[in-house]
Symmetry: C2
Subunit: 507 residues, 2 copies
């Protein structure tokens, strides 16, 4: 027993000597000092040094070696502040510098100070956005940002939510489409329901298949529509598949059009797909996680022409708009609380209806998450800092830089483009001198297939740059270079080409 | 056209004068300066001031007023650095200080500097944890932390993943149980499958029902098992419901046992539930998001006795262990790659099999997310800082503090406990003097039901503390006070009681 028995009104006496309850068990001033020192370290190592061209993009160590080096095991006793700061230093040292101007490996890149400051504030404040009560500022901000995105897309009004990733946004869309067509499934499940079919292009993001598995729809009920040679969905083939599904007695549910595919950066023809969706009354979702930013540019918004005819859109400002990870919006054209009706569970401990303020501001019941981070703040602060006009310029500059790079490739020997890019994905092969005179054919492609992995290994070990590679359809391994950051210059582009040549010329 | 036509080998000339490509379009030194200034601001306002007892927990402003005050709209032109910093200051000012020692409103609280420093590092480095290639350190760390949690739970080995929230972890469990019983559903979906039934207590977290809706199982196929008066699942009633489902021809799938319910902090009797699950061959998932930390304390681990018999466990270090939001582990006892087989989609652009390192380290194909934050780093650094022994003390201190508070309540007039707490949830009514002589009965409870919302409104407007209230089953609105942080002292407990009395004595 912790406490002595006592009279009804007597103040109890505390017992356990090792648990001092009448004083804080942490020293706040040393906590603040630790934070101060770690902030200085972050600024020096994870910001200044990590973005410095004369430093490495990555410090490659094999998993086995790194395990030994970092001594990660967790034990009974704590470590000193000095040891902990050294650990932070090591974490930064051996982490990949995705903010480095020569990181072109993913659909995100670059150091963006405004969203980063917002991120830090979020981490310090520890908010969770489900009720206005606990997250007043962020609740309003999310609404404003969603409204802005809805306006930019071209809808009169709508609804939405920020999610922990574009994959989740795509899941939201599929579940919402299902609820829209068959609201009973929310309560009854799918076991008695007809087979439902989703349509998406063969080049779409893998999250569509993951979602189909997760939601109980089944990956085989994702009908993949063939693409043209540029990676765009062929609308006539979509219509054929819809008719096929109907003939099979299945229920066509939703079409996912991709605005900016992951590998080729292709844009499905939304306008044509919208006609087909309207004809067959299918939900049209646009996965614009990557390509959504095109809409900010008057010059490039034709890429997403027809997006206003979609029922829902996923758009990740953490990609082309450079917001710190993660920042992923899911917006819906519906104005009749479909999102709320689909996702609500009315938890009484959180969404009390007898609160003293207007509870329609509590956004948490639209989400499949309970605790949720206020990611909208990051894009909000960046948008406030730059305004739409500079955001537009950023997109245009990135795409112009991709054009510059392709022109350079054409001008050099040994680089071969898969296609002219229309977005910020530049896909290309590096053909080493030994293969330049081998005629196109199985031997050439088999050999070329092995080139990119070796160059990738070498660039990682040298730490000079990072670019992803992959095979795609029947295409042998090629590089996919992604250009986003305004830090990047033509000199970096020239460097990339020189460096790849230097890394691969002996192959 | 951006570029002039050119000969094959000629270097192209850049055109658009407004998009300068040969120099960075951002000034890195001013970016760094902005970050430096915002960090100083965060330390001052969001750390020091936000944790200061003489400052308010919240600065209540109604949604309508706050909208006007903050001028949130997004426009065409950017703002100055000064304006942006002022905005950051306002964001902090009007946000709830969840790190304040008098915030007892959610299942998270307090300022924890080590996980906070780790959070800042994550935000600065912008990592995404799916491949070892892009997140080497964090990939290894996640493995180590999961292994430690698996060891603490008492399994020989296992697997796991960190997720964006405990709700998602519970979804992972249900989908995994489904895959375990019927692997075909991943491909074929549920439309041809038998009706599947989940079992969980009536007091479980609402994410179980959300998951059932989302996964296509249906909320009506969640059979809720009655609880005893302490909020613990009654095992005999569980068995009855399993037999009922079988009689109906449905397929019982999984039992969710809650270790630490959201409102009452109750622990379902895992050992007894495990026997039933073994008897009927059902997947046993333990939602220990809140109560998992009990396992760290020799004194309190009896609360989760039998947890080693579970097939999967959800455990959120961001709750009782105070890690910055979010930090949510999902661990699985299976050692035969069930998680991988259930979730994999083998995206070729990310999980290339011809990489130069051991690709079994790439963890991303176990996840429903694509990009994923390395949340394990936050608990890792905290664990390194404190060691298991101090983590144990923290849990024991929080629970001792809850005991202190309940003793104080017994010693005062006007406070009435729902029950003796066995964890860190202290659930109680404040009975204002006007009701103290009203006999127990409908009139008393109807009047008491209205008390907590008014006191809550007043405490928000005064900004002196934050505690949640709710009704629960047939219980009238009561306060649920959550005690976590080692900053909190007996004086804070006394303050809470004085303050509630001061806010509610006239009611």
């Amino acid at each position: 027993m912790l406490y002595l028995f006592m009279e009804d009104t007597e103040i109890p006496k505390l017992a356990p000597s090792d648990l001092c309850l009448d004083k804080p068990a942490v020293d706040m001033s040393s906590a603040e000092k630790f934070l101060e020192r770690s902030m200085a370290l972050i600024l020096e190592e994870a910001v200044k040094r990590a973005t410095n061209r004369s430093e490495k993009v990555c410090e490659w160590v094999s998993p086995q070696q790194l395990q030994q080096l970092l001594q990660l095991d967790l034990g009974d006793t704590g470590e000193s502040e000095e040891e902990l700061l050294q650990r932070c230093r090591d974490v930064i040292k051996y982490s990949v510098k995705t903010v480095h101007p020569r990181f072109f490996n993913q659909l995100f890149a670059g150091m963006e100070p405004y969203s980063m400051a917002a991120s830090f504030i979020i981490e310090a404040l520890k908010p969770s956005i489900y009720t206005y009560e606990v997250a007043p500022v962020f609740t309003l901000m999310e609404k404003v940002v969603l409204k802005k995105m809805i306006e930019v897309i071209g809808w009169e009004d709508g609804d939405g939510i920020f999610n922990a990733g574009g994959s989740l946004s795509n899941m939201y869309a599929i579940n919402l489409a299902r609820f829209h067509h068959c609201p009973d499934i929310k309560e009854l499940g799918m076991s008695g329901s007809p087979r439902m079919v989703l349509f998406t292009s063969q080049d779409c993001h893998y999250s569509i298949a993951k979602a189909a598995a997760f939601l109980g729809i089944g990956t085989k009920n994702v009908y993949t529509v063939p693409c043209d040679e540029r990676g765009k969905m062929i609308p006539s083939r979509l219509e054929e598949l819809i008719l096929k599904a109907k003939k099979e007695g299945a229920q066509p549910l939703m079409v996912n059009a991709t605005a900016g595919t992951t590998v080729l950066g292709a844009f499905d023809p939304i306008e044509e797909i919208a006609y087909i969706c309207e004809k067959y009354r299918l939900w049209l979702h646009v996965d614009a996680c990557w390509g959504g930013a095109a809409i900010l540019s008057k010059k490039h918004k034709h890429l997403v022409q027809g997006i206003h005819r979609a029922n829902s859109v996923a758009w990740n400002p953490h990609k082309m708009m450079m917001v710190c990870l993660q920042c992923c919006a899911f917006v819906v054209r519906d104005q009749k609380h479909l999102l709320q009706r689909c996702y609500s569970s009315n938890a009484r401990y959180l969404f009390q209806q007898d609160k003293f303020y207007d509870v329609s501001f509590d956004s948490g019941d639209k989400s499949i998450q309970c605790g949720r981070k206020p990611d909208a703040f990051k894009i909000w602060l960046l948008w406030k800092a730059l305004g739409s006009s500079q955001l537009e310029q950023r997109v245009e500059r990135a795409l112009a830089m991709a054009q510059y790079l392709t022109q350079q490739m054409k001008a050099r020997q040994g680089f071969r483009l898969l296609m002219e890019p229309e977005y910020a994905n530049v896909c290309f092969w590096y053909v080493p001198p030994s293969l330049r005179n081998v005629p196109d054919g199985p031997e050439f492609w088999n050999k070329l297939h092995k080139v990119a992995p070796v160059i990738k290994e070498r660039m990682m070990k040298r730490g000079s740059l990072m670019i992803g590679y992959q095979s795609h359809g029947d295409k042998a391994n090629f590089f996919r270079m992604i250009i986003i950051s305004p830090q990047v210059t033509t000199e970096d582009m020239d460097f990339v080409l020189d460096e790849i040549h230097s890394l691969g010329q002996d192959l």
